[in-house]
């Protein structure tokens, strides 16, 4: 059943596959029978107004929440039905950059990035230091290894979180609202960074956001969730959706409320 | 930020561990390493207030502790096992400070000779709490229980818990022996023949009465008066007969003598009047009669006294078992279980 070799995967197995997902908080339905697939190497943005369940969807995909029904496959393996060991093995192949960074405040920047490597690899301290340097260089934070997260600015925190998410060279990256709370310049530089990352690592990237500039700049494809129907109301290239989507709400969202 | 001050932590851990080891060794954790001797004894009285761990003292010096308390169902004795720290005993050596600890065998030998000389152990109260300890000493104030021949069984070993236990005979505790003596004394008081004593004293008084008959005394005084009168007449007669000067002188002498005699007789009479012998004797007789009556009453009274003393004995026994009652008062009656129970015949 279990596939042991993981770094070589069949091209046709999608990176993310959500099947008929139903999510509930108690009695309240958040996501109602949602299905979509993300092929390898794609950058996909999940859009939607506040309270439509974007973050909930992300937490289900990353295995933090257990769905009410349905299944989620990451690289062909179900994270829903995985036991602790299997879950650990799956989590090794994706990285998550949280909204606020979620860096461990008692660790330095370098230690934060090194943490997954120390845990999952048998690299020596010297090798780990090299790879941390390399990762931080990728997000333009080389030289900041010994600072504490509290000493960093918002944009730097996000970039550091990116570096930590990429520590193990994962094949899937999840970014939760990467440009939230940042000035336009930092936001734009983050978008560039995301594209660079894809270029260097060929990772599949799922971004939860509602920043229109980012959506049009980085994503190959967008999925839009609706707060009322709890379903996907649009799926396609963002530029196409902006101009040609049948649903006026989607067009309105992508045109900043103007039709 | 999360750097640890390892020096402080190390200091703390080392310091505390040393403190802990020091504390527990002060409290005697490593006592089991030192040489021990094992003794046992049996007592017939209640060991209320004695626990495992209670002290064993030799002439007031704490030398060990009670390790086990067992009741023997066949003779209802309670046997106490104890552990003695041989560190406390030293052989005589040259210097007072370099003492050599004696071996267990030496200790047992020493103990056996001492037991033959009268060394015993008994329960003693430790302060006011009702706790007891076992004292080993020569107790001159208590006589040995007659049934026991301690010298015979001294040094008898009993095996228990893989150790040989050396027997030390016991004597009843202070309160137990006090109770025994009290009962003894009361029995003796009860044996005294108060009736006989009263009868004999009344006979004695009657005889005295007969001897001091009041009529005879009166007659005696009358005779004395007559005698004095006769002397006066004689002297008057003599006065008329004799030479004036000489007679005067003689008369003077005689008168003086007579006057002295008169004074004497007056004094005697006065004294007799004062003494009121008849009344006194009558009073004595009445008293004797009373004593005769009350000797019967006294028997009844003594009965009461006996009962009161019984109650006192009971109280003493109670205090012996619950000395704390002196402070905390007697708890609600629940001792009734004891009367007629398993231990009823152990208690006097």
């Amino acid at each position: 059943m279990q596939e042991i070799k993981t770094d070589i995967t069949e091209k046709d197995i999608p990176a993310i596959e959500v099947k008929d997902l139903v999510a509930k908080y108690g009695e309240r339905v958040i996501l109602d029978h949602i299905s979509f697939t993300v092929p390898k190497g794609e950058i996909i943005t999940v859009l939607g107004g506040s309270g439509c369940g974007k973050s909930t969807l992300l937490k289900h995909i990353t295995g933090l929440y257990t769905p009410f029904s349905g299944d989620i496959l990451l690289d062909g393996r179900s994270i829903v039905y995985a036991d602790e060991e299997e879950k650990r093995r799956i989590t090794r192949f994706f990285g998550v950059a949280y909204q606020g960074g979620a860096l461990f405040r008692s660790f330095t920047v370098g230690e934060n990035v090194a943490l997954p490597m120390e845990e999952y690899t048998r690299l020596s301290k010297e090798e780990i230091r090299e790879r941390v340097k390399e990762k931080l260089k990728m997000v333009n934070l080389d030289g900041f290894q010994d600072l504490m997260p509290s000493d960093l600015s918002g944009g730097m925190l996000k970039r550091c979180a990116f570096a930590r998410a990429m520590a193990l060279d994962p094949m899937i990256l999840f970014f939760d609202e990467p440009s939230a709370g940042l000035d336009p310049v930092s936001s734009a530089s983050l978008d560039e960074l995301i594209l660079q990352i894809r270029e260097k690592t060929h990772a599949t990237i799922l971004i939860v956001t509602h920043e229109l500039d980012s959506i049009f700049r980085v994503s190959d494809r967008s999925i839009m969730l609706d707060a009322k129907t709890k379903k996907i109301i649009a799926d396609g290239k963002p530029a196409y959706l902006r101009d040609h989507c049948e649903n006026p709400d989607v067009r309105m969202f992508l045109n900043r409320g103007k039709l | 930020m999360i750097e640890t001050n390892k020096f402080k932590l190390g200091l703390f851990v080392t310091g505390t561990v040393i403190l802990f080891i020091a504390a527990v060794s002060c409290m005697g954790l490593f006592d089991f390493l030192s040489a021990k001797a094992y003794l046992y004894t049996t007592v017939t009285e209640s060991v209320q207030g004695l626990n495992n761990g209670s002290q064993v003292k030799l002439r007031g010096v704490p030398i060990g502790k009670i390790t086990d308390i067992i009741i023997h169902m066949d003779n209802r004795n309670i046997s106490l096992q104890m552990e003695v720290d041989l560190k406390r005993f030293s052989k005589s050596s040259q210097s007072e400070f370099s003492h050599t600890v004696i071996s267990r065998e030496e200790f047992y030998q020493l103990l056996e000779t001492e037991i033959r000389k009268g060394l015993r152990c008994r329960l003693e109260l430790d302060g006011i709490t009702g706790m007891k300890y076992l004292e080993i000493d020569f107790f001159r104030d208590v006589k040995l229980a007659p049934a026991e021949n301690p010298v015979e069984i001294a040094g008898k070993y009993v095996k228990s818990h893989g150790e040989e236990y050396f027997y030390v005979p016991s004597t009843p505790s202070m309160l137990a022996s006090l109770r025994l003596s009290m009962t003894d004394i009361l029995a003796r008081i009860a044996m005294i023949d108060f009736d006989g004593i009263a009868n004999r004293s009344s006979q004695l008084l009657e005889k005295m009465n007969e001897i001091i008959e009041p009529k005879r005394v009166d007659r005696l005084i009358a005779d004395l008066d007559k005698c004095v009168e006769a002397i006066r007449q004689t002297s008057e007669n003599l006065g008329s007969l004799l030479d004036k000067n000489e007679v005067n002188k003689t008369l003077e002498d005689v008168r003086n003598a007579v006057q002295a005699i008169t004074r004497l007789s007056a004094a005697v009479r006065r004294d007799m009047e004062k003494a009121k012998i008849p009344e006194t004797v009558a009073g004595l007789r009445d008293l004797t009669g009373d004593i005769g009556d009350s000797s019967r009453n006294m028997n009844v009274t003594l009965q009461h006294v006996n009962e009161a003393v019984d109650a006192l004995t009971e109280f003493a026994r109670y205090l012996n078992e619950h000395p704390s009652a002196l402070i905390f008062g007697r708890p609600k009656k629940k001792e009734d279980v004891k009367s007629g129970g398993f231990f009823s015949d152990i208690l006097p």
Partner: protein, 272 residues
Amino acid sequence: MAEEKNFLTDLFTSIGGFFYAACGEVFSFIAFTGRCAYAVLDAFRHPGKIRRRELLYFMDLCGADGVPITFLICFLTGVILGYQCAVQMQKYGADAFLAGLVGCAMVRELSPLMVSIIATGRTGSAFAAEIGSMKVSEEVDALRTMGFMPERFLVIPKLFAMTLMMPLLAVIGDIAGILGGALIGMGVLNQPPAAYYAQTVAWVRPGYFFESIIKTAVFGIIITFIGCWQGFRTGSDALAVGRSTTSSVVLSILFIIIADTILAHFFNSIFF
């Protein structure tokens, strides 16, 4: 009629709601305990994976940093106990028993209790606040998606540190309490220090010290468990951290007292 029925319905609804919530709490605690037990097992299987730096940090925090306050409070407790008893015992001429009373009470009962209550306030609440704020800032989620068991990462160093350090603090507390009693014995009852020492040594058995350290180790485990559990239960708002800190202290003290009751019975059946 209708009102009465309403009242009854409300009553049963609230009882049911309370029971439901209580069961939820209990299950959540059992689940947390299970995960922690798994993490402890894992830590014993792979001792190399225990995060040494956190362990040392928390050992320093729970142990060495707590020495001054522990010493002070236990010393004063000894003084208070000694003083109150000295006044009463003097009436009965039982002065000589003061050392035994203070020694036994401090070592067997009060010092473990005081040490644990101080630790609850100092470290238990800190654990709850730390994990709670990590929960709020999604750090716990981050740990989980990085494949770490948050319990292993966050609870194990605290648990080991507390279990190791609390007994040492108890030793400090024991000694401080005895010293406090000695101050009263010497100052108020004019007992010579040697006599007080001899009485203490005669009454306090080495076993009592072991009782003291075993008790505090158990209390340390309770404090860590409750503190971390409350931390993990924290909701996602800032107020929630405050709430979980408060309830960690209250619950810890409650469970310490309950555990103490059971342990007191247990140790009394050993010693007497």
